[in-house]
């Protein structure tokens, strides 16, 4: 019982880290511009398929493909932000939803066209397979890797936001966009960089998730629900909130699947509804 509990906590934490990478960008950009980007997971899918192509077709090592996944997804986010999303910052939420869901549909069809609808996988190096035995419990190497990478990125993100000039601009824009503009902060530029960063992180999350949940073109819709849950439970624009929410949801999802398999995904939704009713602005949200 105790060892299974540790296993569930470990797996849930690793899963939560994945959800965190996928959703942190959306949380910050939603908090900043109130732009409802339902296509966020499409950028994650871009990262995932970049890794699949590089590893399986071009024979790149898995580790080298991860930065490439980040860069591709970030670059594509900038293109979409400049060409399409930028025109809609003043539009209604409903129009933003419709446009971005249109982008999701297009991305699903496009990836189905290029990669078929089959589940894709990417070879990982031998040292990432297998598992580590500690005191009678086994921890999958890949999940340890996932946790280490995600914690490192979280640390970097917090440093970036709390200690740099750019971070101060982003925080100001999240707190009060108009005031930030009034102080001479170039919110549009800060937003573009944040959007690219968020898209890139989603791409990295997409690439890292292949090994855990697989990758097929419906990823953009399936994980959209999870990402929205993390964003709303964590509170808009809060990195710490997204982190906490992702961990709570990851662990409750794993616990639900392990201890109450007949409930299906019931537990994760119940946790979400409960948390939102308790704290409507999210765990760490301000408004």
């Amino acid at each position: 019982m105790l060892s299974s509990l540790a296993g569930v906590l470990f797996d849930g934490f690793a899963y939560g880290m994945l959800l965190f990478l996928l959703s942190v960008g959306l949380s910050v950009t939603l908090g900043m511009m109130n732009f409802v980007n339902l296509a966020h997971c499409s950028f994650a899918m871009v990262g995932g398929y970049t890794t699949v192509s590089l590893v399986n077709k071009l024979g790149w090592p898995f580790l080298a493909s991860l930065p490439a996944a980040f860069v591709t997804a970030a670059a594509l986010s900038i293109v979409f932000e400049r060409a399409l999303f930028r025109r809609l910052y003043k539009a209604t939420d409903l129009d933003q939803c419709l446009l971005t869901i249109g982008v999701v549909f297009i991305s699903i069809a496009a990836f189905a066209w290029f990669y078929t609808t089959e589940q894709q996988s990417a070879r990982v190096p031998a040292w990432l397979q297998g598992s580590l035995q500690v005191g009678g419990m086994s921890f999958a190497n890949y999940r340890i890797f996932l946790i280490v990478v995600s914690l490192a990125i979280t640390g970097l993100l917090i440093l970036l936001l709390e200690r740099t000039r750019f971070g101060a601009q982003v925080r100001a824009a999240v707190d009060n966009q108009r005031m930030a503009r009034g102080l001479g902060i170039d919110v549009d530029r800060a937003f573009m960089i944040t959007f690219a960063l968020g898209g890139g992180l989603a791409g990295l999350g997409g690439a890292l998730s292949i090994q855990v949940v697989g990758l097929d073109p419906t990823f953009a819709l399936t994980y959209l629900v999870y990402v929205l849950i993390v964003v709303s439970v964590g509170g808009l624009g809060s990195i710490g909130g997204s982190f906490a929410a992702a961990v709570v949801l990851g662990i409750s999802d794993m616990a639900g699947k392990y201890y109450f398999p007949w409930l299906g995904a019931f537990l994760i939704y119940l946790v979400m509804v409960g948390l939102l009713m308790w704290r409507p602005v999210g765990l760490f949200g301000k408004r």
Partner: protein
């Protein structure tokens, strides 16, 4: 009293509306092979109309509206399977069950706003979906409800060409539309629009915001339940898909596409979305998503606020 005259004029039937409803009879003679698609459109239009009452008029964005559609569908299905197959009784039962659920959840819904509200509707919808999936002895789980025997409607059987199905769906849609039209143009409908525009100010002028929203939410749930029951009667099956997130998202897309906050928004959206999907999937069954996506992007770019909203804005500009 010029303002009263203004509201009267708003609620009067226009020739274009009469023409539109006459056109809905055309499929019987012009495209008799597409009657089952036509009844799908009528059902979806009713579902979208019910969402419009809360989203377009009361400002409650819901990503879980399929909950009521599904409850209506399952109630009608279970009634027809175990007790009696009389369609009208099924409609009433589906409407009542969905309305009860709507009233119960409305107490939660009206307390929240913005993203939290959307996520709560989504969460409640997903919870119901999971519950129906788990309760397979009752609902058939992922296999769907089998053995639904729908009786005759005023002596007409539901034939394989879908004549009865379309006539039935269209008649119910029209009756519900009249009800919705009446509600929208009533003082209650005006109060709802006021709440949508400014939820803190309406109580200040004496309108009980939350009570109004609860009422609107329940009415929308009843209507969605009727749409679900219609689907059960016209297809004689109930699949788990009626409760899915996909159905909630689809109807939201359809309503925004047509134009939220307009009586005909959901109907126009349903016609365009479902006809486009039928045609695109006819051309290329695997990639119709691409063209639908392109359609949505194009509508947002060139006709903001949906097709009807964009068209009416363009229409007014030259003045």
């Amino acid at each position: 009293m010029a303002s009263v005259e203004y509201f009267r004029r708003q609620s009067r039937w226009r020739p274009l509306e009469t023409a539109f409803w006459l056109c809905t009879l055309l499929p019987f003679v012009v495209t008799p092979n597409y009657l089952s698609l036509a009844s799908q459109i009528a059902i979806t239009a009713l579902f979208a109309l019910s969402l419009d009452l809360i989203l377009g008029y009361a400002g409650i964005v819901s990503l879980g509206h399929a909950a009521f559609f599904g409850v209506g569908a399952y109630t009608a299905g279970l009634l027809a399977k175990h007790y009696l197959g009389e369609p009208l009784a099924g409609l009433v039962a589906g409407a009542a069950a969905a309305g009860l659920l709507g009233y119960a959840t409305s107490h939660i819904i009206v307390r929240f706003r913005h993203l939290t509200l959307i996520m709560l509707t989504l969460g409640l919808g997903l919870l119901l979906h999971e519950a129906a999936n788990s309760a397979s002895p009752l609902t058939g789980g992922a296999d769907g409800l089998q053995g639904v025997k729908v009786g005759t409607l005023f002596g007409f059987r539901f034939d394989m060409f879908g004549r009865t199905a379309y006539a039935y769906s269209l008649a119910v849609l029209f009756i519900c539309f009249l009800a919705a039209r009446r509600i929208i143009h009533s003082p209650f409908g005006l109060a709802l629009r006021g709440i949508r525009e400014n939820p803190t100010r309406m109580p200040a002028v004496g309108a009980p915001s939350r009570a109004h929203l609860r009422k609107a939410y329940t009415i929308a749930a009843v209507m969605a339940g009727i749409a679900g029951a219609l689907l059960t009667h016209t297809t004689s099956t109930v699949s788990l898909e009626v409760l899915s997130f996909g159905r909630s998202a689809d109807v939201l897309v359809i309503l925004i596409l047509g134009g939220a906050g307009r009586l005909y928004g959901g109907i126009v959206g349903a016609i365009i979305y479902l006809v486009a999907r039928d045609q695109f999937s006819g051309i290329n069954p695997q990639y119709w998503y691409f063209w639908i996506g392109l359609l949505l992007v194009a509508v947002v770019m060139f006709l903001p606020n949906g097709i009807l909203g964009g068209l009416s804005a363009r229409h007014k500009k030259p003045e």
